[in-house]
Symmetry: C2
């Protein structure tokens, strides 16, 4: 029997993959599982996006243009222009989700054994995409103690080798909720220019920022035009995760051409999803204002409620809809499994994502979990209560 590739063997499974069978077993027993483990919001998709698909007049569901239609990319450019970012339609390649944009960017920039520096903890699927391209991830550790702020320039420079091609950041960050300050981004810009590196900036949570926090896009650094590619998506802003429409944005024409080659091989992004996404871009501003208000309320509630639990520490997320939580346990993974396997309160339990899977360095984050505040406050309230009681019972 022939054997699968080394890289498939090395590719990590999802951090929650081991827990899924336990969640399914709990559900089979009739236990309601509150999913705090995933980034699937419960927020309604804008009606106009759904209606656009219903009303689309289609006889032949044909291929669309590889890089997305002119009209769609013009609209995306206008969206960036409203944010005071100078982007034109020709800077954009539409992809099948932000996932594909990232995978294409990695393939376009890095050869096997090239190195990609990423502040950890980071979105777990970055490992999958990197392994898929045989790219080596070099982590720079951010700490719970600093609320996951960007490490110093020295920490980055210590890790730069001849094989380093790019730095990848997620801003606002999944899983930490950290939003980089302008001076932190300026540090990164300096490093990229000095060492001639690409900067891949995953900004799919761009508009999920709270309080006085301001988001700075890597697209706002003109000196970096040849160095930056931004990964974006409609999934989060319009609660359209299932559309699978994202985009890569770069002013570097060689890079754009390279991304386009990957895109040509897979022909085109999904047609229905583009219809929905193009319409979504016309959604009234009030839709997202409401969404943001809701997430802000959830965040405030969650952080406050978690802090009431003895022994629990919380990083205060400034953006996205995730929160890193330190628990008074040795293995957060064991606790997460135990919650699903052995604990329930009024026939309800909670699923959280063990955070070790978001670190590349072995041994880090063992006592941390990531909680996504993608549920309504009432559900969050019950979920946190279950977490508290579960923790008491687990530690007893």
């Amino acid at each position: 029997m022939p054997s699968i590739s080394q890289k498939a063997r090395h590719m990590p499974s999802s951090p929650i993959r081991k827990l899924v069978p336990y969640a399914e077993a709990a559900k089979k027993k009739g236990v309601h599982v509150h999913h705090l483990n995933i980034g699937q919001p419960d927020i309604k998709t804008p009606k106009n996006a759904l209606i656009a698909v219903q009303q689309a007049s289609i006889d032949v569901l044909s291929y669309s243009r590889t890089e997305g239609s002119d009209a769609f990319r013009e609209k995306i450019a206008k969206y960036y222009q409203r944010l005071n970012l100078t982007v034109s339609a020709s800077d954009i390649v539409v992809t099948t989700g932000g996932s594909e944009a990232l995978s294409f960017a990695l393939g376009a920039l890095l050869d096997p054994d090239d190195e990609l520096i990423i502040p950890e903890p980071f979105y777990a699927n970055y490992s999958g995409f990197a392994e898929g391209h045989n790219v080596k991830i070099v982590p720079v550790t951010c700490t719970f103690e600093t609320q996951f702020a960007l490490p110093s320039v020295e920490e980055f420079e210590r890790r730069i080798t001849k094989r380093t091609k790019a730095i990848l950041i997620c801003n606002p960050s999944n899983p930490t909720g950290y939003v980089y300050r302008k001076d932190e981004l300026e540090q990164l810009a300096e490093i990229a220019l000095k060492h001639d590196l690409f900067l891949i900036s995953d900004e799919v949570y761009r508009e999920f920022v709270y309080d006085e926090t301001k988001h700075f896009s890597m697209l706002s650094f003109e000196a970096l035009n040849e160095h930056v590619v931004v990964i974006d998506s409609v999934s989060k802003r319009y609660s359209m995760c299932g559309a699978r429409i994202g985009f890569a944005v770069t002013k570097n024409s060689a890079l754009r051409g390279a991304i386009l080659k990957f895109a040509q091989a897979r022909l085109s992004p999904p047609t229905y999803a583009q219809i929905a996404s193009e319409a979504a871009l016309d959604t009234d501003e009030s839709y997202f204002a409401e969404v943001l208000k809701e997430y802000n309320a959830r965040r405030n509630f969650l952080v406050e409620a978690l802090r009431q639990i003895p022994g629990v520490e919380t990083a205060i997320p400034k953006g996205a809809f995730y929160c890193m939580v330190k628990l008074p346990v040795k293995s957060a993974e064991d606790f997460a499994q135990w919650l699903l396997e052995h604990f329930s309160l009024n026939n309800e339990t909670v699923m959280v994502a063990p955070a070790a899977g978001f670190y590349s360095t072995k041994g880090l984050g063992e006592d941390e979990v990531r909680i996504a505040y993608v549920l309504e406050i009432d559900a969050l309230k019950r979920a946190v209560h279950i977490l508290e009681k579960g923790l008491e019972a687990y530690l007893a």
Copy 2:
């Protein structure tokens, strides 16, 4: 300025990419271009598939299941069962087009510098996917003279090295229209078993077979269960190229697990497209019977008409909807460009795909083009007439 990856540099552009600006220029001048260069059928998508999307009740367009829903995969399994192929839902991973299924299969099976044997000419994007995974394509040349029949076992064995991991076939073939006989597939099976290789069988044109030709799926060889992965798609059968739904089918659980890891990294296939595709599987058999009748008529017309043109030779396609055509010119690419740039008849011209891009061996296929019979007979008739007159003028 940092530079893009070697692999992006090596990745070929589409065989028709160079011609696209000439086609656009022709259109700008008001010339109608008959597109015989692409595999985008004009056949209507089944109404029930389109209606299913219109009537879907969606509030939150959420992620779907990574491998496709149970219900959808059950239906796909039933489809194979109707073809007397023993496939169960758990053998299937739903992907974003057959393209993604193929890319995942290559990543799951081959490491950088591993070798993949492919009979040439082959679907040009195979090169893109192989380069994307740093996999080396080793071609085995099929000839126009044998109508692109499978080369001998010896030809394959001469190319097998320690790095050979898999053989990839397209059956029915894009671009040749060749359909492998059972004894040819048995030869391949023997090679795969003897040398412990995987067999990747791209069968997206499975049901497009004409006359007395019968299609044999690689899934019908039980002895090969651990060696075979079949690439499939709804694009062609239901004229739903823009859906971007395909699947990988394999009984090899290690391989399926590996494909699933790639799939998890990109989260899920597009939701709308799955709704359409699941409904499409319920389309009345009469739909496809009509489609097949239409393609058969187009094929018969095309082959007969081309044969009337002095100096033109045609391989008779037994399946798919492509036809390889040998022209009495030195460079088919130059001729194709000339047709767009300098020739029109009653303000119409023709775009064909130069076939050199379908060969991996440099210098082959220079005088060949691939013609897709995806237009109605009236349009085909005009297109062939333009081709004939164009050829006369070009050679004059």
